[in-house]
Amino acid sequence: MPHYPEGTVRALLETDLVTPATRAALEARLVSQADYAPQFFDADTYQLLRAVAARVFPQPDRETPIELAPNVDKRLLEGRADGWRYDAMPPDREAYRLGLGGINQAAQAAFQQLFVALSAEQQDVIIGQLAAAEAPGENWQEVPQDKFFEEMLAELAESYYAHPLAQEEIGYVGMADIPGWTKIGLNELEPREPEAYG
């Protein structure tokens, strides 16, 4: 699988190949959110969400992982939606409360501990149950776990791949578009497009 050099997007943000609006959007995400204080979730639930996000997007390769929980907290606080919701799902705030609670219930059922207290391997067992829609817990009577997992996964994936470091990881440099692209066919690269190794 392709690997790309680090620093590509960050270097492009320093150039005039990126519009000011694009630079502003991407640079804002480079500011570390490790110290983010939750405003919607209580402290325990927020740490639970962080722990879940860390198994969905494990980042052992990064000293400071990309934080995915702050965007969820901010969105729920502001009550923002993305235009639709499965009718089978409760409203987003309720869905997250119930779903995260259900994850703790599944952790208790399997390991008699809260999710945050489990080892990474044990946490993966619980996420695996959730992904297969087989996690135990009474909350799943109120929120369908397959849809909850799908929605949470999509939201975390949006935050992760919108991050400049994640874009460096997959070799995406589409933001550097001021000159446009002339080499667009198969195996055609412009000088500002990084080549893969490995």
């Binding site: 997007f57 997992f149 996964l153 589409g174 667009i184």
Partner: protein
């Protein structure tokens, strides 16, 4: 909500305020004013429009349905005002080349998606802002075929349109030349057209080349597609020069060059050059009528205030969810029982694969290549047909769709996404038959304005399922032939169609063949809601054609009436 005393004598507004007690309403209104000074009329710099000021036409919505007719009516010398729920932005400064930052282009008020195949809204197919959904459409602009309008005649299923394709053809031609469509001439699946496309096709990107190569081996004809993005600089009446597309691949998240023919850089400036007024951030809540049932004006909310605009005629062009929602909220044009009914969504199944070649799917017009050999497949076990297209994709859109389908998480998720630059997709755009069990209704859940959220029921029926099976098999073949590994399919539905259908009789349709409501003397509807059937092509070009035709029919009738 407007206060009772501001309503004029003889005006019927069936929409009741949430709170019935006048004193309580007054108190709450005062509280609101104190809490939010921007809502206080004294704080507002702009004067209230004169409530007695009556314009010829109000147009609700500035997308593909509203913008062309707005320009036409303004050109005819009428006094016209367009009301757009979303803001007016400057794409050259305000748009970022970043998917998440562009989420403001989408209609993000929550809709409830029900049925066995709940349809995604928001970025999938609903826009807001001056230009409507054309701000984020892919710019794919194939014409409908003759047979798309005669499904019932040809298959005994679905419904026929109340007119033939010949009614639309002159408008297709006019729009293609006005917008500057880039496409192949002659068009392989319709070679006898009177005029070709004004510009040569856009160049093919990696996904398009892969599809072209594989289809060639399988005996499937392909061609560079017709796209509403300029392959060369183009001069346009009312606007001036528009610059050519630079292959930045960002059509679905907004073009910052004016190369893509969204309404904000084409029909809307044309309309304004003829004196049309476009009011942004104007969210219509009420449609007012007199005792005879004639529309007298609309009420809208703008910057925290409620404003009335009186009009002689109303054109409702708010799209296939907000149009029926407004009709239902106002108990308007409901006699046929068809408002909200026969909601359709195009089967848009995608097939993805991983290739050894470097593709970089963020470059080039996303829908570069087309095949319409599947318009009426010989081995079909379904009515209608579909088109095939190659697809480029941006990373966030790809990742979020992919995880919904494949449920990848953990290291496998990060590993798979590392292949992004080597992934290419194809998809279909297929006809969808109208079905009684697919419909829109108002739910009990309220939005931030206190209005009921819409709930849309959609279940792919036998015909759509058969089409999906046919298409998935064929697309998997194509991608195998192209050399893909790790091939997977994503069943999805795109575009919002139906819900205020056009027909010959007020017993089973909301509007007549001219787009005029059967029940209301001065109401026209023009957007994808009036489509009697879904068509086997992307809807934007046909909506624009209907829009010009609706304006012309209105002007003819007006002239005849003296």
């Amino acid at each position: 909500m407007p206060e009772e005393e501001t309503l004029e004598e003889g005006t019927l507004t069936p929409l009741q305020p949430e709170i019935q007690d006048p004193l309580l309403r007054e108190i709450l209104e005062e509280n609101d004013l104190q809490a939010d000074p921007s809502r206080n009329p004294l704080e507002q710099p702009a004067p209230l429009p004169d409530p007695t000021d009556e314009v010829d036409c109000v147009v609700i919505g500035t997308g593909a349905g509203g913008a062309p007719l707005l320009a036409r009516l303004a050109q005819a010398g009428l006094r016209v005002v367009a009301l757009e729920a979303g803001p007016r932005r400057d794409p050259t400064k305000d748009y970022a080349t970043d998917e998440k930052a562009q989420n403001f282009l989408f209609w993000n008020d929550e809709r409830l998606s029900a049925g066995h195949n709940p349809v995604a809204f928001g970025k999938n197919n609903s826009g807001t802002g001056v230009g409507g959904s054309t701000l984020h459409y892919t710019a794919y602009t194939p014409r409908a075929h003759r047979g798309d309008l005669t499904l019932h005649t040809d298959f005994g299923q679905g419904v026929d349109w109340p007119f033939q394709i010949d009614e639309l053809a002159p408008y297709y031609e006019e729009i293609e030349h006005f917008l500057g469509i880039s496409g192949p001439t002659p068009y392989p699946w319709d070679p006898t057209r009177r005029k070709g496309y004004p510009l040569a096709p856009l160049p093919l990107n990696g996904a398009a080349q892969l599809m072209e190569r594989a289809c060639g081996k399988l005996g499937i004809r392909t061609s560079p597609a017709a796209n509403a993005a300029l392959s060369a600089r183009y001069y346009q009446e009312g606007i001036g020069w528009r610059e050519a597309c630079t292959n930045r691949g960002f059509c679905q998240a907004g073009c910052n060059r004016g190369a893509k023919a969204s309404m904000d850089v084409t029909f809307l400036p044309l309309a304004e050059s003829y004196g049309a007024e476009i009011r942004a951030d104007a969210y219509v809540t009420e449609i007012e009528r007199d005792a005879s049932g004639r529309i007298t004006g609309v009420m809208y909310e703008q910057h925290g205030r409620t404003v009335r605009q009186r009009c002689r005629n109303l054109f409702l062009c708010a799209g296939a969810v907000e149009t029926p929602r407004l009709l239902m909220l106002n108990e308007l044009a409901l006699n046929s029982g068809q408002v909200g009914k026969h909601f359709m969504a195009h089967p848009g199944m995608q097939v993805w694969g991983t290739f050894p070649e470097d593709i970089r799917p963020y470059k080039g017009i996303p829908g570069g290549l087309i095949s319409e050999d599947t318009h009426r497949p010989k081995d079909a076990d379904f009515a209608g047909g579909y088109l095939l297209q190659s697809i480029g994709v941006m990373p966030v859109t790809f990742a979020t769709q992919m995880v919904r389908q494949r449920k990848l998480w953990g290291q496998p998720l990060r590993d798979y996404m590392r292949n992004y630059n080597h992934i290419a997709g194809i998809n279909i755009l297929g006809d969808c038959l109208p079905h009684a069990s697919n419909f829109m209704e108002l739910s009990d859940e309220k939005d931030a304005r206190g209005l009921p959220k819409p709930r849309l029921h959609f279940t792919a029926q036998e015909n759509e399922q058969r089409m999906n099976r046919h298409a998935e098999k064929l697309m998997r073949q194509i991608w195998q032939e192209a050399g893909a590994t790790d091939i997977w399919a994503f069943e999805r539905y795109a575009h919002v169609i139906g819900t205020a259908r056009m027909g010959r009789s007020g017993d089973d349709a909301v509007v007549d063949p001219d787009g005029k409501a059967f029940d209301v003397p001065n109401l026209y509807i023009c957007d994808n809601s009036v489509f009697p059937s879904a068509l086997s092509v992307n809807p934007a070009l046909t909506i624009m054609a209907l829009s010009l035709r609706t304006a012309d029919k209105f002007l003819l009738q007006r002239k005849a009436a003296g």
